[in-house]
Every structure is written in structure tokens, then in C-alpha cells.
Amino acid sequence: MRWISPTQRIQRPPQSYAGTVFRWIGLLILILLPCSTGIACAESPPGAAPASSKPHVTLRFVSWKPDHARVWEEVLADFTRTHPHISVVRELAPHSSTAYHDLLTQKLKNRDATVDVFFIDVIWVPEFAAAGWARPLDDIFSPAMRQEFLPAAIEVGQYDTHVYGVPSRIDAGLLYYRQDLLAKYGFIAPATWPELVRQAETVLAGERQTNPLLQGYSAQFKQYEGLVCNMLEFVEGHGGSLMRPDGTGSALSSPDALAAVQFVRDEVIGRLTSRAALTYQEPEALSLFLQGHAIFHRNWPYAWELANNQTRSTIAGQVGVAPLPGFSPGRAAAALGGWLYGISAYSQHPDEAWALIEFLSSQAVQKKFSREAGIAPSREALFSDPEVLARSPQLRNQGAVLHAATPRPRSPVYPAISHLLQRYFSRALAVDGLDLAQEAAITDAHIDRLLALTKAAR
């Protein structure tokens, strides 16, 4: 046997370094691959269920990642305690509505039987109904039961005479403001946008020395679903509408809709609010308000709890909330948002799924959510419940706003309509030297073509 001494070692060909480099690349890919998988993670059921006579059923509940995880865990543990033969496995999806939609509909498109209960955003009801993904609840969700909820919340859950969703939490756009600053200059909450602009100018002129970062307004103008809500409020507040009254076509070219968009383009972006608002969703806009850098702020009901949270907010106790202004007194508009509970059409356990939904939407659980998570209830009675009102006095005003809130266009192709609206509004606010009327006409034509498709199918 011959040994090769180190000096005798065969000369490596020059390519061998390249070889090692590629081996390194391969190794890196192997290491990185697992990071990119695993979008959703499953949670084990809370608490083991004791033995019972009924056959044991495991329900799968696809949920977004909740803000108040502890409250949700307690509620679900309560459910398993009262329903020992049912255990609930939650599958947590991303928090963003669009990301949640894409994940959930991907499962439903594949008729995935491992989905029983899910959330439906109020804008998806026509799509889920038309696609046959959500089970009609007409036989179990009786008219008497429906009457206990806010009418607007029941209405968005219906499509073509069937009901598909049980209201979980219902949202509407609200105007938050700095009570201390407005009082200092002798103002009350503004009823119209011109009034809001005037108030902001006065307050800014007086406060600029002490707080150079103070802005008049903070809201959500990024190119995403929230932009549609914000702009709907301006357009409706101006007396316009995104759709024609009979719902047959898009109405962005109407004088009122154009004037409202022009107002936001000229008077709001870069003046009343920083241009940075074009990159803001809810968290960024809210953080500006919580830091005391905005006089007025537009957000959903959940912001009340955070704005008055001593540890997270610098303006706790100085916050007021009012309906959003319009362009003439009494013409306020709020976009309707929120979530409904639905049952998958492919679920093998609709009865158990209904038991879970009944429990989650019960008065007691809604009360707990309102008390411990600051989530606005959807049951009419809770808006006059002394215990709830003592803790959340803002609900006294919100009830009226929620009753009058305006839904976004209702169509099975809403996701496509929304993208066209987002595109139009974002271009209208961000692109210099844009011919607004022409953009509006093009978008109108696009949306009308989509709506014609739905009509042809009827």
C-alpha cells in the first residue's frame, strides 16, 4: 500500500474552487428552504375534553391572528368546558384581511374538508355565497335570532335572500380627536371637512412652537383595501357614491365623487396630513396619533381602547370620538367593516360548527370581548347595557354611526372591483399632473365591464 504524502497530493484542477462555491450555494439553499415554508401554524386545542356519550368531534376554525390572544383562549376553553364532545383546533392566518382572504379561499377552492368555521369579512359575503363556499344559515339562524343584532350587520351577511354570516364584530369609520387641544382653542368636534381644516389650521398655528411634528390629520391612504374605506367616506360625505344608486354601475365620474377626490388630493395629502400618509395602514396612522402628533385621526372602533391605554398612548384621557365629518352638516358617512362567522359548505360537522358560532356570538361572550379586548359588540342590546357603557362610554355615540354605516360595493367580484378602486384612488392621490376625470372614466368603464359579467350570469 502506498501513502500519498502531502507534497505528492494531486494538484487540484482550477475549477475546484468554483466547485466549492457552488457546493456552498447548495448548502445555503438547503438551510434557507425551511424558513420559507410554514405560513400558517396550527394551535393545539385548549384543554382536554372529558369523555362523553356523544361521539367526539374536532372542529377546525380558521382564524386570523387575534390582537387579544388571551381572551380568545379563555373563550375557547369555556366552549370546550360546556361542550365536552367538541374540541376546537384553530388555524391562525395572517392578520391582514387580504392575506387571510387569499389563504382561506385557497382552501375553499380546493373544497378542503378540514375547514369548518371561518371569519367572513363583510365585503366577501357575495363572493362566498356565489362561489358556494359558505353554507346558507337560513334554517338555523332564525329571523328572531337575527333581530337581536344590528340591522346593518345582518344585512351585510345576506346575499340573494339567504343569510350566510353571524355578526362577530362590526366596525365603522370614526373621527378621533384631541379633546384637550380642541378645548384649548374653544372648538367642538367638527361637523364638516372645511370646518375640520379651519380648526386644524388654528390649532397648528398655535402649537407649532411646542410641537413642530404636529399634523392636522392622520388616516390610511396606502394602496390597499383601507384606502377604499377612507375614500368612500369622503365621496359619500360629499353626497356622491362609489356606485350608482341601483347598483348597476360605477359612479366615480359623478361631479360629487370627483370633487371629493379632488379635495383629498389638494387639501388633505401633503397639507392637512403629511404625504407619508400614502404609505400608512391602520397601525402607522394610529401610532402617529398615540404619539400626540395628530389633532384628528380616522380609525375603527378598536382604536379607542389603545388611545386610552396608559402604557401605549401618550394622550390617554385626552381623546374624543365623533362621527366623521361630511361636506355639509348632517351628511356624515362611515364605511362599514367588520367580521362575520360562517360555516364552510364542505364542513362535515355543521351542527357542531353552529354550536361554536352560537357560543362565540352570544351576549356573554360579546360582553367579555367588549370588556377585555375593547371590541365593539354587534348585538343591539349591548349598546344600552349599563355595565358595558360604564366601561366603554364611546359606544353611546358609536351605536348611531354603526346603524348608518355605508357598505362597500356588494358584488361577487368585489376583490377585483376593489383592486380597480385602490388603483384609481392611489393614482389620484400620488401621481402628479393626473387627469382625474379621465382616470375616473377609465375606472368606471372597467368596473362596469366586471359588473356586466355578474349580470350575464344571473
Binding site: P14, Q106, A130, A276
Partner: protein, 303 residues
């Protein structure tokens, strides 16, 4: 004798096929089938939200619509601009990095490892990182430029042109090191005696680079170009995390548009047409590159 020979050949052929079969099967199932299926879907009209429409065969209608779609046209312009800018910048940066880490100096191993870090970070994380760097309130870019003058802070991502530039910059930061790696491999195979000979002939550094390094690097550069162009064409995660296509569609790329149509809007036919169009564009590009590279390799083989 002859029979035994043909049997052997037959056996060899069988063995060869059985060895190739797994790879062939995987390619068929995971590459060819999905592409053909997308192609088939793109010839239909399918709306998930309107199942009553069924899925009628519409021929090339989706492609005709795509050709006239202003959003798609805008997305194509954005995508092409992104491909051109990012690949050129990445190649330039990659070349510089490769030349530096090819030199011998103390701590070279450490520098080589460090260069790889941006590429090793998942794109989603890198995108989030750069989104924070260009944040209007607490971003590092503003701190660096304006320090304490908070009233001067710029909302970078709120301007269409700037937002696009930031997306390009992030991609360049992220993948220049990958280009550098490929180019470095090319540098390693250039024989050192060529430089020695040039030095003897009195060639200056710049001349050595221009007449030796660059021509001999051509295959590596083309390879890097091929990889980077294909990747840049498919840019998705950067846009998804940083801008969602905004503001005003300034960062809307074809892949992101395709994703929105397919997954959010549920327009299966049209979305497939977009994917197929992107696929065909990438295919055409890579075939062009491969042809260029192939001839290059053949030339080198001749003495």
C-alpha cells in the same frame, strides 16, 4: 454472440432509462404539468366568484385582453425597468465585490463570508428591513441624512419614483453578493500566468483588467446575467412586503399583478394568462442568453 450483444445493449438502455426515470418523473410532475395546466387554464374564462359562468373555452381572448389592459401595460413597463436597472447594477456591484474578495489580504475569509450575508437573509426579512430603513418617522435613512431635524424627514415610499428606486436598491443590496459569487468563481479559473505574461509585457492594471480579466470572465458574467434577469423578472416578495404595488401602481410588477388576479380576485383564466405571458418572456430571454453562452463555450473549446 450477436444476440448476447444486443441483449446487453438492451439492458444498458433499460438501466439508463431506469436511472433517468425519477428525475424525468419529477420534472414532468412539478415543471411540465403545471406549465401546461396554466396554459390550458389561460384559454378559459373562469371567475371563482361567478361559478354560473362555468369555464367556457375562449381561445386567445385572455391574451387579447391582456394586450389591451392598461394596468398590465404599466406593470410590464415597471417590470422591464426593474429588470434592466437591477441586473445592471447588480452585475456592476457584483464585479467590484468579486474583484475585491479575489485579492489576497488579511481577513479575506471573513470578508467573503460577510459578503454572503445579504444573500443569505430571506427576501421577506430583507424587504421588511429596508421598508423600516426608509420609514418616514423612525427610518435610518432619515436619521442619517437629517439627524435631529425631524421636521425635514422625508416619506420616501410615498413618492412613486422614489418608491420604485427603493425597491431596486433593496434588490441590488440583496442579490449583488450572489452575482459576486458567480463572478468570483469565474475569476478563479483565469490562469495566473496570463497576468504574469502581461506584466512582463508592461501592461498596466487597467489594461490587464480590460484585455484579460473581462474577456475571460464573459461566461461567468453571462451566467450571472441569466440568473439575475430570470429572478428579476419574477420579482414578487419585495413588492408584496414593501409597497403592495403602490403608490399609484408605481411598483406594480407583472408577477404581483398576476398574483392579485389569481389569488385575490379569483380570475383564474386571466391570471393564468398573465403567468404564462411572464413565463414565455422569461423563456425567450433565457433561450437567447443560452444561445449566446453556448456559442461562447464552443469558441473556447477550439484551440
Amino acid at each position: 454472440m450477436i444476440r448476447a450483444h444486443s441483449l446487453l445493449r438492451h439492458r444498458e438502455g433499460l438501466a439508463a432509462w431506469s436511472m433517468v426515470a425519477p428525475a424525468l418523473l419529477v420534472t414532468m410532475v412539478f415543471a411540465v404539468y403545471p406549465v401546461l395546466d396554466s396554459l390550458w387554464l389561460s384559454l378559459h374564462h373562469i371567475f371563482v366568484g361567478i361559478p354560473q359562468l362555468g369555464s367556457p373555452f375562449v381561445g386567445l381572448d385572455n391574451y387579447v385582453a391582456l394586450f389591451h389592459d392598461p394596468v398590465a401595460r404599466q406593470a410590464l413597463v415597471v417590470t422591464l425597468a426593474f429588470v434592466l436597472l437591477s441586473t445592471l447594477l447588480e452585475l456592476a456591484c457584483g464585479l467590484i465585490i468579486a474583484l475585491v474578495i479575489h485579492e489576497r489580504f488579511r481577513g479575506r475569509g471573513l470578508v467573503r463570508a460577510a459578503i454572503l450575508i445579504p444573500w443569505a437573509i430571506p427576501t421577506v426579512v430583507a424587504s421588511q428591513l429596508w421598508r423600516y430603513i426608509f420609514n418616514d418617522q423612525y427610518g435610518f435613512a432619515n436619521l442619517l441624512l437629517f439627524g435631529d431635524r425631524v421636521t425635514d424627514y422625508v416619506p420616501w415610499l410615498a413618492y412613486p419614483g422614489v418608491a420604485f428606486a427603493v425597491v431596486v436598491l433593496t434588490d441590488v443590496w440583496k442579490t449583488s453578493s450572489f452575482a459576486a459569487l458567480l463572478i468570483l468563481a469565474g475569476l478563479q479559473v483565469i490562469p495566473h500566468d496570463l497576468y504574469d505574461a502581461a506584466r512582463v509585457d508592461g501592461a498596466r492594471m487597467w489594461q490587464r483588467f480590460w484585455h484579460i480579466t473581462l474577456p475571460l470572465l464573459k461566461p461567468a458574467l453571462l451566467l450571472a446575467l441569466l440568473f439575475r434577469t430570470m429572478d428579476a423578472f419574477r420579482v414578487f416578495d419585495l413588492v408584496f412586503v414593501m409597497t403592495q404595488g403602490g403608490p399609484g401602481d408605481a411598483t406594480q410588477t407583472l408577477q404581483f399583478y398576476g398574483y392579485q388576479t389569481l389569488f385575490t380576485e379569483g380570475r383564474i383564466g386571466y391570471g393564468s394568462a398573465i403567468s404564462v405571458a411572464v413565463f414565455l418572456m422569461i423563456l425567450a430571454l433565457s433561450l437567447t442568453y443560452l444561445r449566446a453562452m453556448g456559442s461562447n463555450l464552443l469558441e473556447r473549446r477550439r484551440p
